[in-house]
């Protein structure tokens, strides 16, 4: 089914509406700064920015409960941030510093956090889907009320792991919310060039899984659709597939000349940018003043500056640690 666009005014109290906007801004500003730091050689390797897709992480994750499990992708800085990992720790991990969530070993693509039940970003497309099914199976067996939200992009549907996970989750009626961020391009390949069936919901439906398609540029639409979806999964209806139709404004990674799409297409999508459209909507409805917006933005910029300082002040893991944590300490003689 296609979720009807919520009509009427933003259905949230001022505080929550501001929370959604602030979190989108936090992702946006953190990533703008990350791109700058990448250019300065502070963040190395690869960097996959979420800019343009903020409404998905913010709208969806605010519909979950703190006890829920989260599995995500390599484009996951935003998910980690909204889920509650501190910006300090995220940036430190991206720098490769010991103060990061994984001592700097995972970097940008592998943010993990036990406290917020983030069971990983994953460098491998569709790599997290089977793990999400496993987390959910454990919860089903343990009879908890948790669900597992599993994020992945449209590129994942070409992988075998996607189909195995869809089947296992549907067969065993696992409490998994499959959150597909369809930004139309798997790296540099458009969906129609990689899929015989470009209707992603149809793929999920073939596993007898209910599906929802939603405008991923609208944080209200995302939040409302995800709220309903998670309630169904939590009620024991089995897995559900939700497709967020979204768009990344930046290149796939920092090494991408974007030969696969036109500038006009990007500009067209930018007119639907989640941050400025939601800001305008709140202002129009009298739920946000320009002063309030400037104050929010200033507060976010302060957070970003503090996070950069934290990462800069961080330390490198000593070379002597290179062989650490291959095995657990008592693993050989339990």
């Amino acid at each position: 089914m296609i979720a009807p666009p919520p009509s009427g005014p933003v259905p949230y109290a001022r505080d929550f509406a501001h929370r959604l906007l602030t979190d989108m801004l936090r992702i946006r500003r953190m990533e703008e700064k990350s791109a700058e730091l990448y250019g300065a050689g502070k963040i190395r390797g690869f960097l996959h920015l979420y800019i343009g897709e903020e409404a998905v992480a913010v709208g969806a994750l605010h519909a979950l409960q703190a006890e829920d499990n989260l599995v995500t992708t390599y484009r996951e800085h935003g998910h980690a941030l909204v889920r509650g990992m501190s910006m300090d720790v995220i940036l430190a991990e991206m720098y490769g510093k010991r103060e990061g969530c994984s001592l700097g070993r995972g970097g940008s693509m592998h943010l993990f956090d036990k406290r917020t039940r983030l069971f990983g970003g994953n460098a491998i497309v569709a790599g997290g889907l089977p793990v999400a099914a496993g987390l959910a199976l454990a919860d089903k067996i343990q009879k908890t009320s948790r669900i597992t939200a599993c994020f992945f992009g449209d590129g994942a549907v070409a992988e075998g792991a996607f189909h195995e996970s869809m089947n296992l989750a549907a067969l065993w009626q696992l409490p998994v919310l499959f959150c597909c961020e369809n930004n139309l391009y798997a790296m540099g390949t458009a969906l129609e060039n990689s899929e015989s069936q470009t209707d992603l919901c149809a793929k999920a439906a073939s596993y007898r899984m209910p599906t929802i398609k939603v405008d991923g540029m609208d944080v209200v639409a995302v939040h409302e659709a995800t709220r309903q979806a998670q309630a169904r999964v939590r009620a024991g209806e089995g897995p559900l597939f939700i497709e967020y139709q979204t768009y990344r404004f930046r290149a796939h990674s920092m090494f991408d000349a974007e030969l696969y799409r036109s500038k006009a297409e990007v500009e067209e999508w930018k007119t639907r940018g989640p941050v400025h459209t939601f800001t305008a909507r709140l202002k129009q409805e009298g739920k946000l003043s320009e002063e309030e917006f400037l104050a929010l933005d200033a507060q976010v910029n302060t957070e970003v500056a503090a996070a950069v300082a934290f990462a800069e002040a961080g330390t490198w893991e000593p070379v002597e640690h290179m062989l650490a944590d291959v095995y657990t300490p008592a693993g050989s003689q339990p």
Partner: protein, 333 residues
């Protein structure tokens, strides 16, 4: 370390009944232990290693799964991160190729990648080895692929009593462990196995017999062929069961080679970049000046598992092992 033969109340078991017995005992001991795999429920598995467990523990503890090796390993990782101890039955080690992605990306890598924050306590039981003529992908010994993967423990028992101790330790370990079960050995012989629960260390090889003239290293079914071959020579041969393949327990090997000055490594894995190449390299690096002859490997050949008629020539035989031993004993620099 547990002294198996000092434990009271023994029962005769073969390798497969020892595995079943150990799974049952571990499942009784720890409710988070769940066995999962294809046809392992009411059918009891292709080799009947889980026979009776479904009736005793029910479908939440003995879980039949689809043929989704990759998906299943990922599922096991997720369960392990949520406090379960899944024990996966991989019908044949050759089916692991399908699961290679999750095996590397998530299962093996997770603990190190997360700076030690996440643990993956799971066991993969995989049958392997030649000798029962099931042809490719049901016979191979690809333990070298596993040994090349950091973060995974790899053990291979050669007797029922050893299988019990190693499997119990594998299940209780907070690391992912691949437990290799040789199909030809499943019902090859029985021995007394203690009924009490016990574990054996996952990182220690086993001294089978002491000797002075030559060190003979093998594991799994090849250990039995090696014992037979050694008995046919007049030499005093020290035999080491390299049951702990990863991490490789190299110190006793070096100590032995420094004593005997000669070494033969036997495996049914392919020759090139096989486990023997690594063991030989370690001896050359750390015990070269004690050697009286080059280290010799008696192995399978660099081809995919061959057809029925030539399987026996592909696998090392007691005759081929004996010839290797004699060549090393007679070697003159």
């Amino acid at each position: 370390m547990t002294r198996i033969n000092e434990l009271p109340v023994m029962e005769e078991m073969n390798l497969v009944t020892a595995v079943t017995h150990t799974l049952r005992q571990e499942m009784q001991r720890d409710p988070s232990v769940r066995v999962m795999g294809y046809d392992i429920g009411p059918i009891g598995g292709v080799f009947r290693a889980t026979e009776g467990l479904f009736d005793e523990f029910g479908p939440d503890r003995v879980m039949d799964t689809p043929l989704s090796e990759n998906g299943l390993l990922g599922v096991a990782v997720g369960m392990a991160m949520r406090g379960e101890r899944p024990v996966i039955e991989m019908q044949f080690l050759g089916f692991m190729y399908n699961a290679w992605g999750q095996f590397i990306y998530n299962l093996a890598n997770l603990h190190q990648k997360t700076g030690g924050a996440m643990k993956v306590p799971l066991t993969i039981r995989a049958t392997f080895g030649g000798g029962i003529k099931p042809l490719p992908f049901h016979s191979e010994s690809t333990e070298a692929y596993l040994m090349h993967t950091p973060g995974v423990r790899v053990v291979c028992p050669s007797t029922p009593a050893q299988a019990k101790g190693l499997l119990a330790a594998a299940i209780r370990s907070d690391d992912p462990v691949v437990f290799l079960e040789h199909t030809k050995m499943y019902r090859a012989f029985r021995e007394p196995v203690p009924m009490a629960d016990y574990t054996l260390p996952l990182d220690k090889c086993r001294m089978v017999q002491e000797g002075d003239d030559l060190t003979l290293i093998a594991w799994g079914n090849m250990l039995h062929y090696s014992i037979a071959a050694a008995a046919e020579t007049n030499a005093s041969i020290e035999i080491i069961d390299m049951c702990s393949l990863a991490p490789l327990d190299v110190a006793p090997v070096l100590a032995s080679v420094k004593k005997t000055g000669r070494c033969v490594i036997v495996h049914e894995a392919r020759r090139t970049a096989g486990p023997g190449a690594e063991i030989s390299a370690l001896i050359n690096e750390y015990a070269l000046e004690w050697l009286k002859a080059p280290v010799k490997r008696v192995t399978a050949f660099d081809v995919f598992f061959p057809e029925n008629q030539i399987e026996d020539a592909y696998l090392p035989s007691p005759q081929r092992i004996k010839a290797g031993i004699e060549a090393v004993l007679n070697y003159q620099f």
